[in-house]
């Protein structure tokens, strides 16, 4: 394998993992825009997506239907999560909001463990395991699924926010809560929508990654952290930033793993991430003025 082949291989696998991070980061971004809080349970939505798809598939539901059911289930969980934790609160500090989502993530993790046990589980690849050669590198068919699905989801989210009435209303809430209320937008409903949507996107990420990376009740935390980092790197609140941050993080990680050592890959990725933040304290796509939390 030549150096360029190697590089290509790392970039490809980096983009694959990175697009998962991008989806998770997108989930963080949507909830942040509606509530100004980081939802630390976002990673659990990802885990629940993978675990419930495995469970449905294990119950002899055909794979495509199992995936669909998993997304619907997690969306419902997202709605319930919002309904029982954030919705009843009136005035609450952002820090407390974060702690509540942390409590919620502990709760969801525990529920998953009690329901499905502690073992790791997997799904079959969506279309076989015969590697595909791309120039000098190889690619699993599932990687194509991951890239394609991520692309579709990102495009769908973009279209939703640009054209659908609900999407526009959610953007209005993100831009100015007070003005949105004056315009007759039901802010509470939009917050619930943002949770539902972020849960759905998270679930999709969790499902498509499961055939290559397995899933288990405790996998949500680290995926959530990566997604959070990607969202911050991109500039918190920015959709394009989330996608860019996710891809960048994935590629950095793959390079670190490939060229240095897999044990240090996260350390390298985080170090570079921090360095970038120090150079651009508002993230890649963040607005200069919006520096407060």
């Amino acid at each position: 394998m030549t150096f360029t082949d190697q590089l290509l291989q790392f970039v490809l696998s980096g983009v694959m993992v990175g697009s998962i991070y991008a989806l998770i980061a997108l989930g963080f971004t949507m909830v942040f825009n509606a509530t100004e809080a980081i939802n630390f349970a976002q990673g659990e939505f990802v885990m629940l997506g993978g675990m419930s798809a495995v469970a449905f598939y294990g119950a002899r539901v055909p794979l495509p239907l199992a995936c669909l059911l998993a997304v619907l289930l997690v969306t419902a969980v997202g709605l319930l999560f919002e309904r029982f934790t954030l919705a009843p609160l009136k005035r609450v500090s952002v820090m407390n909001l974060i702690i509540i989502t942390i409590g919620g993530s502990i709760f969801l993790k525990g529920s998953a463990m009690l329901t499905w046990g502690k073992d790791a589980a997997s799904l079959p690849s969506f279309s076989g395991d015969t590697p595909i050669r791309v120039l000098g590198a190889t690619l699993l068919p599932q990687a194509i699924w991951i890239l394609g699905t991520s692309l579709v989801v990102v495009a769908a989210v973009r279209l939703f926010f640009d054209h659908a009435a609900v999407g526009k209303a959610m953007r209005a809430v993100a831009a100015n809560r007070f003005a949105a209320t004056l315009m007759g937008i039901d802010v509470k409903l939009m917050v619930a929508c943002s949770f539902a949507l972020s849960a759905a996107v998270g679930a999709v990420a969790g499902i498509i990654i499961t055939p290559v990376a397995l899933t288990a009740f405790d996998r949500g935390t680290i995926l959530g952290l990566k997604g959070f980092s990607a969202a911050i790197l991109g500039g918190i609140g920015s959709g394009p930033g989330a996608v860019l941050g996710g891809l960048l993080l994935g590629v950095l990680e793959a390079m670190g793993a490939g060229f240095v050592s897999s044990g240090y890959k996260d350390a390298i990725a985080f170090l570079l991430l921090i360095l970038m933040l120090l150079v651009r304290p508002q993230g890649l796509c963040g607005a200069r003025g919006s520096r407060k939390a």
Partner: protein
């Protein structure tokens, strides 16, 4: 003219601290088994961590998601120096403290220019990097399988090898740190920190060098955490990287919030209660994690200012009522 006396709503903290430490000193005489002392030793170590974290997060208003990293740094520096190099535990503890101060500076100096979630991200990243080093620096730390054989501490020729003796060591340190914290928050430095928390721009326009103040308190918290780590290492004599990961950083934040931010007593309460709670939940087997999560949510939902915050509000109302009654009596 009537000159108001010093704030009547403020608790006489030093008196309260003396009473509290007196009770803590009596505790070993009252508990039925050394198991309780064991839990209270961990509680004390956690208090060292939460008090520091509260100074950074509650008082100065700076998010830190990597506090467990400094705890691990103290623990591993102590462990490695004593196990691999045969250094005297006290010397190792001091060296660990020095190292943590340096690392605290190295992290704090650049990061504390960042704000809000961006600072959270940076501290989270540094915490994760430290954790990875604990796992990967195999020749020193023993990697994932852990570092074993950390020696016990002796003080003036007495081996601190019983729970009772170690309990007193830990809580003497806790007492010192609490006194430090109470004095600090009620001083020019403490007011500056609270001003930064309230409005950093306005604080800068009061002539406060906000960045320097933030770096100083961040490093102070790192030092407390380092000492906590050293005490932990010599107590359990075995270190595993799992104890110092992101999850524990979050546990610490939960302790601070549940106890009540911007209250030193809150940090004591939060650390002690949330160290004891999981012990009680053990009987629930795997269900403990559900109850723990639910307790965290419910406390923050229904007591948003934390336990200490709620108690202080109650006390304040009570005092106001007394003061009003006294005034009415004086007028009559």
């Amino acid at each position: 003219m009537s000159v108001p006396a010093p704030d009547p709503t403020r608790l006489p903290h030093r008196a309260a601290l003396a009473v509290f430490l007196f009770l803590i000193a009596l505790l070993p005489l009252a508990v039925p088994s050394r198991y309780y002392l064991n839990v209270m030793i961990f509680a004390g170590i956690h208090v060292l961590l939460t008090v520091g974290l509260n100074l950074v997060m509650g008082y100065a208003g700076q998010v830190s998601l990597g506090h467990a990293g400094f705890y691990g740094l103290g623990a591993y520096a102590s462990g490695v120096l004593t196990v691999k190099y045969g250094v005297n535990p006290w010397v190792a503890m001091a060296a660990a403290l020095g190292l943590s101060l340096l690392v605290g500076l190295a992290i704090g100096i650049p990061s504390l220019h960042l704000q809000g979630y961006y600072l959270g991200m940076a501290t989270l990243g540094f915490g994760i990097i430290l954790h990875i080093l604990f796992v990967e620096l195999l020749p020193f730390t023993g990697g994932p399988s852990g570092l074993v054989g950390i020696p016990e501490i002796s003080l003036l020729g007495v081996k601190l090898n019983t729970d009772t003796r170690y309990y007193y060591l830990v809580w003497v340190v806790v007492g010192a740190v609490l006194l430090f914290a109470f004095h600090l928050v009620d001083s020019r430095v403490g007011r500056a920190l609270r001003a930064i928390q309230g409005d950093e721009t306005a604080a800068a326009l009061m002539g406060i060098n906000t960045w320097l103040a933030k770096v100083r308190i961040f490093v102070t918290a790192a030092a407390f955490a380092s000492v906590a780590g050293s005490l932990y290492a010599h107590y359990v004599t075995f270190l595993s990287p799992d104890s110092f990961g992101f999850g524990f950083s979050i546990d610490l934040i939960v302790m601070v919030i549940v106890g009540g931010t911007r209250s030193i007593w809150g940090s004591v309460l939060g650390a002690v209660l949330l160290t004891i709670l999981p012990e009680y939940l053990r009987g629930l087997k795997d269900y403990d994690i559900l109850v723990y999560g639910a307790v965290v949510i419910l406390v923050v939902m229904f007591v948003p200012s934390g336990i200490a915050g709620a108690i202080e509000q109650r006390l304040q109302r009570w005092r106001l009522k007394l003061a009003t009654r006294a005034r009415v009596a004086a007028d009559a």
